[in-house]
């Protein structure tokens, strides 16, 4: 089964860069075979470091040698940050092995710096770029334990005093804060509870007066045990007025912009953890013998594995597309990024729970060849919460839906351009300042769904599936348009949250359709084939609680076969299917 002819329209597009797929990512190569028990940066070493609660020193120096810090610095400032989807691809080899290292010695630098890149303060940007380029540590002290994501209620205060600000109050559960060279601090500079009462300050920690600063004891979490979570308390601590980044009172706006980048990138990076877990269970099923056969021969085990693989592909389609949307559709990612950060961790978590029922007792052991499974199991929810939990992401999506419903959905909206979906294809450099803090009236990613459905009408398998999803989109449109006003606020009844979830699922379906139709020149026939797409759409349909139109039984089989092939050929399970170490 191959593509319907219409898709060849994308031939006009530049050829996909694919040569690199048969080589391992340079970071993969440096890390080497994770299963080798003697590898100083293999699974066994990471497990031991997790037990000790420390970031594996060999892992840290590997990343330092690679100058990972440069990945988070925009090219304009001398770094290597050009494309968000590329950054996620670079982080995946790290997350595949250890999310603690990936976050604590990697992505945290993006969380700490994205806010600075989102402002116009070039001096601060230059300074922070230097810190990161020379391998320094950056922390982002945004939240407080008592107010969490509700940044408008955070209390650390910066009071103007001549040429200085005086800081008071404390920030808790802050990654790397007591080892940081730079700290991006969110502090109250106004008295109200409004949105212009907070500002960002960039602190050079080497100059902050130590007698006015206390470091809080370490916080520990069940997962990411190796990550250093600390806290700081400011005791009427003076800092120069020039520390203010961006506009006074502009913190919230900046954060809303910057966190779209971190949400999308981090979510896409965690697909690496999921890859490892799926790989472990696939191997277990192939190797373990039961009732005179391999576990993988049990039909339901094959089904669990194939469906988990479909979930992985859905996760990659959505998160990578949204990473690219930061470049292509910067006016729309204010809704895409939180939708992704909500749905993908949920998909992964539920899928991994299913995988655990196959791995059985081994999913519960911290040792042996599958010990990494439970580590990732603990790590993922922590990594997902790290800078915005599920509820908060839903709450960000909800208020944006009614207008999109009214103005865009099924209302002649042009679908997103092909460039959004072209795997690994170059894009204009990431421009943080073009991101809008609220989605406008356009939703071109979702518009891919009805557009593709119309084109697929004749396909016996994809036709009914996508038609069903379009019907659901019409229902969603009606519900969102009619959403009672109170349900668009934090006090929303569960219906608001339900609609945000349904929206995210349809968005994922659109991303899958977009990736499939716009990569029909991909060298891997599996990606051009309909099997994975059919299975993915069925998963999403079931997740919506809808009856799933009967489909071909071979789709699942073909997806399973690809899974086993990739495991045997040592290729990543994600869309790229790149060679591993």
């Amino acid at each position: 089964m191959t593509a319907i002819d219409g898709h060849t329209a994308d031939r006009a597009e530049e050829a996909l860069p694919t040569g690199y797929l048969d080589t391992a990512h340079p970071l993969e190569t440096r890390f080497g075979d994770p299963d080798d028990p003697d590898n100083p940066v293999g699974f066994a070493a990471f497990l031991r470091a997790d037990e000790r609660g420390e970031l594996l020193p060999a892992g840290r120096s590997l990343l330092d040698t690679y100058q990972l810090g440069a990945e988070f610095v925009p090219a304009a400032h001398g770094g290597r940050l050009r494309q968000a989807d590329e950054l996620a691809q670079t982080l995946r080899p790290v997350f595949r092995r250890d999310a603690a290292l990936g976050l604590g010695h990697g992505a945290i630098k993006l969380i700490a710096s994205a806010t600075v890149w989102s402002t116009a303060s070039t001096d601060h940007q230059r300074w922070l770029a230097q810190v990161l380029l020379r391998g320094g540590q950056a922390a982002g002290a945004y939240t407080e334990l008592a107010s969490g994501h509700d940044l408008t209620r955070s209390t650390v205060r910066a009071t103007r005093d001549g040429t200085q600000y005086r800081l008071t109050g404390s920030k808790e559960v802050i990654n790397n804060v007591n080892r940081a060279d730079s700290v991006t601090l969110l502090a109250r500079t106004g008295d109200g509870s409004g949105s212009r009462d907070h500002s960002l300050l960039l602190l050079d920690m080497s100059t902050v007066r130590r007698d006015r600063l206390r470091f809080l004891p370490r916080f520990r979490t069940a997962g990411l045990r190796a990550v250093h979570l600390g806290g700081v308390e400011f005791l009427d601590c003076p800092v120069p007025a020039s520390a203010v980044v961006g506009e006074l009172g502009g913190a919230l706006e900046t954060v809303l912009r910057a966190f779209q980048v971190t949400k999308a990138t981090l979510t896409a990076a965690t697909v690496g953890c999921f890859d490892t877990q799926l790989r472990m269970v696939t191997r277990f099923a192939l190797e373990r013998r039961l009732y005179h056969r391999s576990v993988a021969e049990l039909p339901h085990v094959r089904s669990v594995l194939a469906n988990a693989y479909a979930d992985l592909l859905i996760s990659d389609c959505l998160s990578s597309t949204v990473c690219r949307a930061l470049h292509v559709l910067p006016g729309q990612t204010a809704v895409y990024a939180p939708a992704t950060k909500y749905l993908v961790p949920l998909l992964i978590q539920e899928s991994v729970d299913q995988l655990a029922t196959v791995l059985g007792a081994r999913s519960f052991l911290r040792e042996g060849p599958y010990g990494i499974f439970q580590k990732h199991l603990r790590d993922l929810p922590v990594a997902s919460l790290a800078h915005s939990g599920a509820t908060v992401c839903q709450a960000t999506v909800i208020p944006q839906l009614p207008r999109l419903a009214r103005r865009s959905w099924l209302s002649g909206q042009q679908p997103a351009p092909a460039s959004l979906f072209r795997l690994g294809a170059p894009l204009p450099e990431l421009d943080f300042r073009r991101l809008e803090i609220a989605a406008g009236a356009e939703d071109s990613l979702l518009a891919v769904l009805p557009d593709a459905a119309a084109e697929l009408r004749a396909d016996p398998e994809l036709g009914p599936l996508s038609a069903r999803l379009v019907t659901e989109l019409a229902a969603l449109k009606a519900s969102c348009t009619a959403l009672a006003p109170r349900n668009r606020t934090p006090l929303a009844e569960p219906i608001g949250f339900e609609l945000a979830e349904r929206y995210s699922i349809l968005l994922a379906a659109s991303a899958c359709l977009g990736v499939w139709r716009h990569n029909q020149d991909h060298p891997n026939p599996f990606l051009r084939d309909t099997a994975w797409l059919a299975l993915a759409l069925r998963r999403l349909t079931a997740r919506l609680g809808l009856p799933v139109p009967p489909g071909s039984a071979t789709a699942e089989q073909r997806v399973f076969t690809e899974l086993v092939t990739r495991e045997r050929e040592n290729r990543s399970f994600d869309l790229a299917g790149r060679l591993l170490a």
């Binding site: 207008r403 103005r407 609220a438 406008g440 006003p485 606020t489």
Partner: protein
């Protein structure tokens, strides 16, 4: 629905009060045009949606942070009136 003539500040203000009352599900009389929106519990994120409504109603583009910078109905109304007048002048 878009307006062809320039709305007066009062018209804009009444329309805004109606929107705020709608979001809060309270009678319009209870909405004080001078009060800060946050005091009504219109959280910063949700204030962003008001801007979408404004754009759709008056067929103009406003910064999404409008309600942050002009935090009361009165302040928004005045700002809007100025902006609409300027735009209509330019369009002429």
């Amino acid at each position: 629905m878009t307006t062809t003539t320039i709305s007066s500040t009062t018209e804009i203000r009444d329309w805004l009060r109606e929107r705020v009352a709608f979001y809060l599900e309270r009678p319009i009389e209870e909405i004080d045009s001078a009060a800060r929106l946050v005091e009504y519990g219109l959280d910063s994120l949700y204030a962003l949606t008001l801007c979408g409504d404004i754009e759709d109603e008056f067929d103009i583009t406003v910064p999404p942070t409008l309600a942050w910078d002009f935090p009361s109905v009165n302040a928004i109304a005045e700002q809007l009136h100025d902006q609409i007048s300027e735009q209509r002048l330019a369009d002429r």
